[in-house]
Amino acid sequence: MKPDFEQFKDIPGTTIFTIEKAREGFHLNQFCMSLRKAPNREKFLADERAYLDEWDMTEDQKQAVLTRDFQKMLDNGGNVYFLAKIFATEGLSYVQAVSTMTDMNVEQYQAMMLAGGRNIEGWRSKKERGEA
């Protein structure tokens, strides 16, 4: 069966981690995996730039990590389960980190979740939203 990677592009506000994106993000995600070890977490936090320079990542990927721009990390092949090692290193929860990718602050995001989460109406299709 011929793979169809285009089919996901109409989902608004969503980056699907395809096998192609996984190639693009390989070194970024491997850097994230290194943070599973406590000594590496300490080393990273002590000098982030030096630690990142040990990895064969693009400058865009490194900048995204340094500025904690999670959307930019996704755009550059990162996957959230890998990126979670970055925010876990800082002791942040998924809710705290995930909210930064939305147009809400963490309090607004938590309030939305408590009220039942983001309603899907209006969030099915970029075309429907006039974004495509």
Partner: protein, 287 residues
């Protein structure tokens, strides 16, 4: 002969594990969710299996990007707890069931499911949170565990048809194992959730509830639901629900619903939980 006596489906939200480990299950935020599992823990005490085959996914915890198996099975004596970045959860090591696991792995491979065989595996919240929800906080887990890891992180994930079919093959393999064992199959993950991008926080409870109904009543139809629909309707991480189809495939044609629970939110997630048992008529048909 070994026999599959029940199926469990449950979400495996990491924050739920943290709430258990930090003694926060009675906090106002968490209490309604944990209350929903009280029935299950009681039920489990009188229905503890010898072995639970736990269908879960690794969340970049043990598997990096070097190797991304579609279906993998843990055949070791025991499985250590992963450090997911916060330090490992302070819970007992997970004991395996190597004899049944090797039988299962071999049976599945001979049935054309090309399993990756794991002689070493550390397990993450995908597997350990369901253990905490169903067994509570014992000093030692009361059942042996066979971890079956499914790639649901990188597209293409296995199809729903493939998941349902491997569930059926697990049933056949268990029934062909000579030792008398009470075996459960657990499907974990889901329900609707998205933890990335501007659409993060997506919850679709009506869709989740329909998924539960269809899983129980018409899995033969549900298996054809395309990945795209999961991703649109249940969020990019909602595609984990294909793992529930494996559990359902392992229960035979008809099931009885023992218990059902939904709760929103568990962190970023629509928490869903089912306990199902194979119907008596299913057993008769296949005997």
């Amino acid at each position: 002969m070994a026999k599959i006596t029940a199926g469990v489906a449950t979400s495996h939200v990491p924050a739920v594990g943290a709430a258990v480990d930090m003694g926060r299950t009675q906090d106002p935020y968490w209490k309604p969710m944990f209350d929903g599992y009280e029935f299950s823990k009681t039920w489990m005490k009188s229905n503890t299996p010898d072995v639970a085959i736990v269908i879960y996914n690794d969340h970049a915890s043990y598997f990096g990007m070097e190797i991304m198996p579609t279906f993998a099975i843990g055949v070791a004596e025991s499985f250590e707890i992963c450090d997911e970045g916060y330090g490992p959860r302070p819970i007992p090591v997970v004991d395996g069931a190597p004899e049944l696991a090797t039988h299962l792995a071999a049976s599945l491979i001979l049935d054309d499911f090309d399993m990756t065989v794991l002689n070493v595996l550390e397990v993450d919240h995908g597997l350990t949170v369901p253990l905490s929800l169903m067994f509570g906080t014992p000093d030692k887990w009361p059942a042996k565990i066979i971890p079956v890891a499914v790639n649901v992180v990188m597209y293409p994930q296995p199809s729903g048809e493939r998941c349902f079919a491997i569930g059926k093959a697990i049933r056949r393999a268990v029934e062909q194992f000579d030792e008398d064992l009470d075996v459960q199959v657990w499907g974990t993950g889901g329900m609707s959730h998205q933890i990335q991008g501007a659409r993060a926080g997506l919850i679709n409870l009506p869709w989740d509830q329909q998924f539960m109904d269809d899983l129980i009543n018409q899995p033969e139809v549900l298996q054809y639901k395309p990945h795209l629909e999961y991703m649109i309707e249940a969020g990019s991480e909602g595609v984990e629900l294909i793992m529930w189809l494996i559990m359902r495939g392992a229960l035979g044609e008809n099931v009885d619903e023992v218990y059902r629970f939904n709760h929103v939110p568990g962190s970023n997630t629509s928490v869903g939980h089912l306990i199902l048992t194979p119907s008596a008529d299913t057993d008769k048909t296949e005997a």
